[in-house]
Amino acid sequence: MFHFALKNILFYKGRSFTTFILTFISTMLFIVYVSMMDGSHDSMLKNSLKVYGSAIEIYHKNYRELGGNEYLIKDVKTIENKLANIEGVQLFSSRYETYGLLSFKEYSTASMIVGIDPQKEAELSELKNALTSGEYLKNDGQNCIYIGKGVASKLKVKVSDEISFIGGASDNSFAADIFRVCGVFKTGLFEFDASAAFVSKEYFDTLMLSQNKASYITVKVDDLNEVDRINGEIIQALNDENLESLTWRTLMKTMVEAMEVDSIFGYVSLALFLTVIFFVIMIYGFINVSSRIKEFGILRCIGLSKMRIFSLLFYEIFILSSLAIVMATPIAGYICHYYSMNPIIIEGIAEMYKDYGIVSDELPFSFNLFTISWNVLVVLVLNILSIVYPFMYVYSFGPIEASKHV
C-alpha cells in the first residue's frame, strides 16, 4: 500500500502539490508564531524577575495580604542562619520596604524606600547594573539614597542633591531624615523607576528602628528548575507556621496569568488559520478521493479490504504531510533559533506597552524543541484527520455501486 500511495502522490500532482504547500505553510506559521509568543512572554517574565524579582521570598504570614508593622519578620538572623545551610540556595538578603514622601525644594513625591544590603543586592537583582548616573550604594553606613529615574524627574534632582524623607517607622512612629542622592538608576520598568528608591539597610535600620527586622527575605537559587525542591527544604528548615516561603510562580501569579491570557488569544488566532487550512486540505483530499470512487470500487471488488483502503489514504496523507513537515521544521526551527539569539527590535514597542511591563524594544523568539515537536505533531494529526471524512465517503459506497460510479 505504501508503494501504491507513493504512485498516487506522483500521479495526482495537483492535490499533492496543494496539500504539500498548505502543510508547509501551516507548519512554518505554527512554529514561528508560537515561538514568537512564548519568547515575548519568557522575556517579560525574565525581565520582571531579573530586575527586582526573586526566585523565592520569605514573608511573615499576612504581610502580603494585610501589610503593617506587626507582620514584619522579626528575627532575620535566625532565618538567615538556616538558609545558609540549605543546598541550592546561592544567595539571600533581607529587604525592609516602606512608603514615604520624598521632597526637594518645592517638589515632593511618594516613593517606596527600601533598605537593602548593597553588596548582596548587586548580585540578587539588576539594581547596580541599572545605574545611569552617580554611583551605586555602599555598605558604609552613610545617608546615600539611590533613586529611580522617574523619581529624579519628579523631584528635579541630580546626583549630590539632598532630599528629605518622611515616613512611618517600624514601631509606627514618624521617621524623617535627609538623604544625599548618590546615584540614579533606570531599569526600564516604568512604574518601578518612577516610585522606587534604595538606601543601605544598615543606615535605614537606625532610622526605622528595624534592626533584625525585614519586610521579607529574598533568595536566589543556583538552578531555577530546582526552585520547588529548594522551597520545600526552606519551609522545612524554617519550621514556623508564622512564616511562608513563596516561589516566583506565586509571587508573579498575576503576570503568569496574564501570559496565559495572551497565549489563549494567540492560540485562538492560530486556530483560525489551522481550521481554514485543515478544511482546504480535506477538500482537496475529498475531491481526489471522490474522483477515484470507481477505482476504489473495483479494488474492493477484487478483494481490497476497507482497512487497506484506509491505509492507502493514510499513507498518501502521511507521506505528503511528513515531507512538508520535514522541510518546514528545520527552516522554522532555524528562524526561531536565530531570532532567539538575535531578537527582532521594534522601535517604540517598549514605550507603547510600558503599562504592560514591556521593558525592552527587543522581541526575542523562544527556541524549545519540545514546543516545536508538539506543534509539528498537531499539524500532522490535523492532516491525518483530514482523510476521515473522505474515507467515510468512499466507504459509504458498496463495491458494486462504487465500481459503476460516474
Binding site: 498516487n8 473495483i298 477484487i302 478483494g303 458498496g398
Partner: protein
C-alpha cells in the same frame, strides 16, 4: 464447485418499484467450467454473477463454494473470499491508472503476500500467454482497449483463483480483439483449470463456451 439453492434477490424490496431480480435459482457449477449466463438485458445475469462473486447479498436461499456457505458471511469475510478465491473481469477494464501493466497484473498476488520473485515469474508467464510481454512497463492509459482487457484478464488469473467472473468482457472490444481474448481465456481455462463464468449477450462468447445457462426475468430457463 459452486452450488446455488433457492436463491432469491429483490431490488427496492417493499417499494412500489420492487424488482424480483433472481427467482428461485437452483444451479450447480462444477470445477473447471467455461460457461455463460445468457439472456436479454435486465434478465438478471449480472445480478447472478455478483451474488456468486460475494459482491452482493441475496434475500433468501444459499450459495455454497466448495461446501462453504457464502451467503451468511460478513463484509470482511466476503472481501477475503474475493481476494483469495475469485477473480473479476469487468466491462471497462478498470485497471489501476497509476500502476504499470506489470504492477497491475501482480497486484492481487502482492495483496496476498507473495514474494516479488514469485510475482515476477507469474507475471512473465501470463504476459507471454496473453501477448502483452512487451507492455509490462507501460501505464494503462497508453494501451488500446484490447490490450487493457488482456491485462485485466492476467490480473484476474494471476493468483490462480478457483473461479473467474467476467461481466461483459468483450463489450468495449472490436470483433478481432474479442475473438483473441476469448481464445486466450479458453486456453487459460484448459491449462490452469480455473472455472470461468461469463455474463454477456455477445454471440462470440456464446460460441466459445462449453455451457450456456439461459435466463429470463430473473429465472433460469
Amino acid at each position: 464447485m459452486i452450488k446455488l439453492q433457492n436463491v432469491n434477490k429483490y431490488f427496492y424490496k417493499g417499494e412500489p418499484r420492487e424488482v424480483h431480480a433472481l427467482r428461485d435459482i437452483n444451479l450447480t457449477i462444477e470445477d473447471g467450467e467455461f460457461s455463460l449466463f445468457s439472456g436479454p438485458s435486465g434478465c438478471g445475469k449480472t445480478t447472478l454473477l455478483n451474488a456468486i462473486g460475494a459482491l452482493d447479498s441475496v434475500d433468501s436461499g444459499h450459495i455454497f463454494l466448495d461446501e462453504r456457505e457464502i451467503t451468511t458471511l460478513g463484509e470482511d469475510a466476503r472481501t477475503s473470499l474475493r481476494l483469495n478465491e475469485m477473480g473479476f473481469i469487468f466491462q471497462a477494464y478498470n485497471l489501476v491508472p497509476v500502476l504499470s501493466v506489470e504492477e497491475n497484473i501482480g497486484f492481487i498476488m502482492k495483496l496476498q503476500g507473495f514474494s516479488d520473485a514469485q510475482i515476477k515469474k507469474r507475471v512473465l508467464e501470463l504476459a507471454s500467454i496473453l501477448e502483452i510481454d512487451k507492455l509490462l512497463g507501460s501505464l494503462p492509459n497508453s494501451l488500446s482497449g484490447g490490450q487493457q482487457q488482456r491485462v485485466a484478464v492476467a490480473r484476474a488469473v494471476a493468483a490462480k483463483p478457483k473461479i473467474i467472473l467476467a461481466d461483459e468482457p468483450t463489450a468495449n472490444l472490436d470483433s478481432a480483439n474479442s475473438k483473441k481474448l476469448m481464445d486466450m481465456m479458453r486456453e487459460l481455462n484448459e491449462k490452469e483449470g480455473i472455472s470461468i463464468l461469463f455474463a454477456s449477450h455477445d454471440e462470440l462468447i456464446r460460441d466459445s463456451v462449453r455451457r450456456v445457462i439461459k435466463m429470463n426475468d430473473g429465472a433460469l430457463i
